[in-house]
């Protein structure tokens, strides 16, 4: 209940409220994203100075640096950036639409659908397809999309209702997980190990082809989301109020949900089912920004920071080359708990 007023700003047909704190957090998160992106490129078998990295990025670097950065390290960092952004935004969208802090592409079954397809490919082909760089990501993308459409189709009954959507999502998710578990229980233990390595998510050995596909898809989707998202805020007040304010709520919900599904599928096909970013990033961004609802841009940026820095830690600090999915969760889980505990202690003091 802050009594201070925030000034409104109007430029042409657009208007918004100027909230310095939210703007500051967003700018800081963007800066942090750029920083970890550069650090991720600079660190490797031999270190390239941060200044040299930035120089190369703007096209004025030396020939050697350019080769290492553009050909070897850039794809990995970019896949991390794209997948993190996509997962964060996808999570913020699902949590907003379902009005439930537990909702995320994981809960709606998109991730587990992608996993089930990928595990099927690995176990059915006896590991032959995993050598090809396109087979597994394509299968995961297809599985995620099909599951997303399945959930949407099953939840459709004269429109989409948040409560029905998540309950259907939860049941599809349970079925897909059971399918994965069953496939793993039937399979040869070597295939299981290979599938498990994909299931925890990884940014290892990415190529430019993968980067371009996911980059174009994600960029197009993010544009659509940002264009539609100004209609999302009134929807937090409920459908009736939103309709009264002139929002075509079922159309907006359909478009945004579709974008959330597509974004999550793109991310999973690029980086594997990296867990929890979609769940945690919106909740953490919300608390950092002191916003009552999951913020889209900040969630995406925080997702990217989380994914890239986890990959960085996985490569450098930890021994044995742990995959990024595990590090994400080991950092993201406790950080969420820390924010909760701090908020609780502050409130009681």
């Amino acid at each position: 209940m802050s009594a201070q007023m925030h000034p409104g700003v109007r430029v042409g047909g657009w208007s918004w409220v100027w909230r310095p704190w939210i703007a500051l957090v967003t700018v800081l998160l963007a800066a942090a994203t750029f920083l970890v992106f550069c650090v991720s490129i600079s660190v490797g078998d031999f270190t390239i100075e941060l200044t040299a990295v930035v120089k190369t990025l703007v096209g004025q670097g030396e020939r050697v640096d350019e080769f290492v950065i553009m050909d070897l390290r850039m794809p990995r960092a970019l896949v991390g950036l794209i997948a993190g952004l996509a997962l964060g935004i996808s999570g913020a969208l699902t949590q907003s639409i379902a009005r439930n802090p537990l909702a995320s592409p994981d809960v709606l079954g998109i991730t587990s659908g992608a996993s089930a397809t990928a595990v099927f490919v690995v176990t059915a082909s006896g590991g032959a397809a995993i050598g090809g760089s396109l087979g597994l990501p394509a299968a995961a993308l297809l599985g995620g999309l099909l599951t997303g459409f399945l959930v949407y189709f099953l939840a459709w009954k004269k429109g989409i209702d948040g409560f029905r959507l998540i309950l259907i999502g939860v049941s599809v998710n349970a079925a897909m997980q059971a399918l994965t578990t069953w496939l793993l229980a039937l399979a040869d233990i070597r295939d299981v190990a290979r599938a498990q390595a994909w299931l925890v998510g990884s940014l290892n050995a990415r190529s430019w082809t993968e980067v371009w596909t996911s980059l174009w898809l994600a960029a197009a989707l993010v544009l659509v989301v940002l264009f539609v998202s100004f209609q999302l805020k009134p929807m937090h007040f409920g459908d009736d109020v939103a309709a009264g304010l002139g929002v075509r709520h079922s159309a907006v919900r359909a478009v945004l949900l579709l974008c959330a599904v597509l974004l999550a599928s793109v991310a999973v096909s690029a980086a594997g089912p990296v867990p929890f970013i979609a769940l945690v990033a919106p909740q953490i961004a919300m608390r950092l920004q002191r916003s009552p609802v999951p913020p889209l841009v900040a969630s995406g940026l925080f997702g990217a920071v989380l994914l890239i820095s986890s990959d960085l830690i996985a490569r450098t600090v930890l021994p044995g080359g742990l995959p990024v999915g595990i590090v994400t969760a080991i950092i993201g889980g406790p950080f969420l708990v820390y924010l909760l505990v701090r908020a609780n202690l502050k409130r009681s003091a």
Binding site: V170, A193, A197, P275, V341
Partner: protein, 354 residues
């Protein structure tokens, strides 16, 4: 309350009967169904027995007859334990699912929410990794420890400061701990193939092959949880009117929530340790129970418990039949057959928000 009564005045149709009597009759029906399913569970399996043979196996004198000894062995060491465990764990998971939804007011809250599932899995994997345990009888004790420890940590974190009154804090703290433990489990499973091998079967969720000692321990915890849960039921009804109203009606909110969470941890922890993480069962039967009884938790929770036992038992029997002579784990059957059924009920609009 009198306002509610007045509004309700002309509404009930005479044919509907007393809702209380109707609900009690439904409860009796469920018990009867459960008994029938239990008998079926003793009869059905890789080797089908007649009810008469089961009776002999249960109570017959140990004779020299080769066939009879075999039947006695099958019934007493295989069929009875898994039937008992399915009933105990089913009741526990069903009641825990209904309780956690009542306390968090979140329709997708499940029994894994407090971290007990991931705690149990983590402890199992750790035990296999550190001590090379291969026998379920040995690592199940670790599952108990893990489930309990995770539950205590989640509850402790969420009740620091003023958190005990806030269901959202509990939910998110549970998620945070679950995230962390699942990742650690994954890390160990990646490093150690033996642990991965154990994990993939533990995660499937099954009531088969668990000894009487583990079942006994689980039953003790479940019994304690059931007592606490039943004690907690009137408080949940009041808490669901909103914290302010509940406080005004004289409910000790922190105590009510604490008892509820402890009960959920005991019930879900014991069941998960004994038969693996079957989180979807609790979620599913809680919604079905709410559809059958309405929002009164004094009936909803017992219904959910009996339904949970019934569903788990039927799933176990189905799992024995579909891929004979092999078996499909009960957890997989519940998700693969239960989920479409549940989705159909959702689509038909049978469920209401918690």
């Amino acid at each position: 309350m009198s306002i509610v009564e007045e509004q309700r005045g002309p509404a009930p149709a005479p044919a509907a009967g007393n809702p209380r009597q109707r609900r009690l009759a439904g409860l009796a029906c469920l018990v009867a169904l459960l008994a029938a399913a239990a008998v079926l569970s003793l009869v059905v399996g890789a080797r089908s027995l007649t009810p008469a043979e089961v009776w002999q196996g249960l109570f017959g004198e140990p004779g020299t007859d080769q066939r009879l000894t075999e039947i006695t062995l099958i019934v007493q060491t295989l069929r009875v334990p898994r039937t008992v465990l399915a009933v105990v764990a089913g009741i526990a998971l069903g009641m825990a699912g209904a309780l956690i939804q009542g306390h968090t007011r979140n329709p997708i809250a499940d029994t894994g929410l407090l971290g007990v599932n991931s705690g149990a899995s983590f402890a199992v994997v750790l035990a296999v990794y550190l001590f090379g345990l291969q026998n379920p009888v040995q690592y199940l004790w670790f599952a108990f420890l893990g489930a309990g420890a995770a539950g205590v940590v989640v509850f402790g974190l969420s009740s620091l400061g003023r958190g005990a009154g806030n269901p959202l804090t509990l939910v998110l703290a549970g998620q945070g701990v679950t995230i962390f433990l699942t990742a650690m489990t994954g890390a160990i499973a990646l490093a150690d193939k033996q642990a991965l091998d154990v994990l993939r079967f533990f995660n499937a969720g099954s009531v088969q092959g668990v000894g009487y000692d583990v079942i006994g321990l689980a039953a003790v915890f479940v019994a304690a949880g059931v007592v606490l849960a039943l004690f907690n039921l009137p408080a949940i009804n009041l808490l669901n009117l909103g914290d302010d109203v509940a406080r005004g009606l004289g409910v000790n909110i922190a105590l009510g929530r604490t008892i509820g969470v402890v009960a959920v941890t005991l019930l879900a922890g014991a069941a998960t340790a004994a038969c693996g993480p079957i989180a979807f069962l609790g979620l599913m039967v809680a919604h079905i129970a709410r559809w059958l009884t309405g929002p009164d938790y004094r009936f909803l929770v017992p219904y959910a418990g009996l339904l949970g036992a019934l569903v788990l038992l039927v799933a176990d029997i189905t799992g024995r039949l579909v891929v004979r002579p092999a078996e499909l784990q009960a957890g997989i059957v519940i998700a693969l057959i239960g989920a479409p059924f549940f989705a159909a009920l959702v689509w038909l609009g049978k469920f209401r928000q918690a």
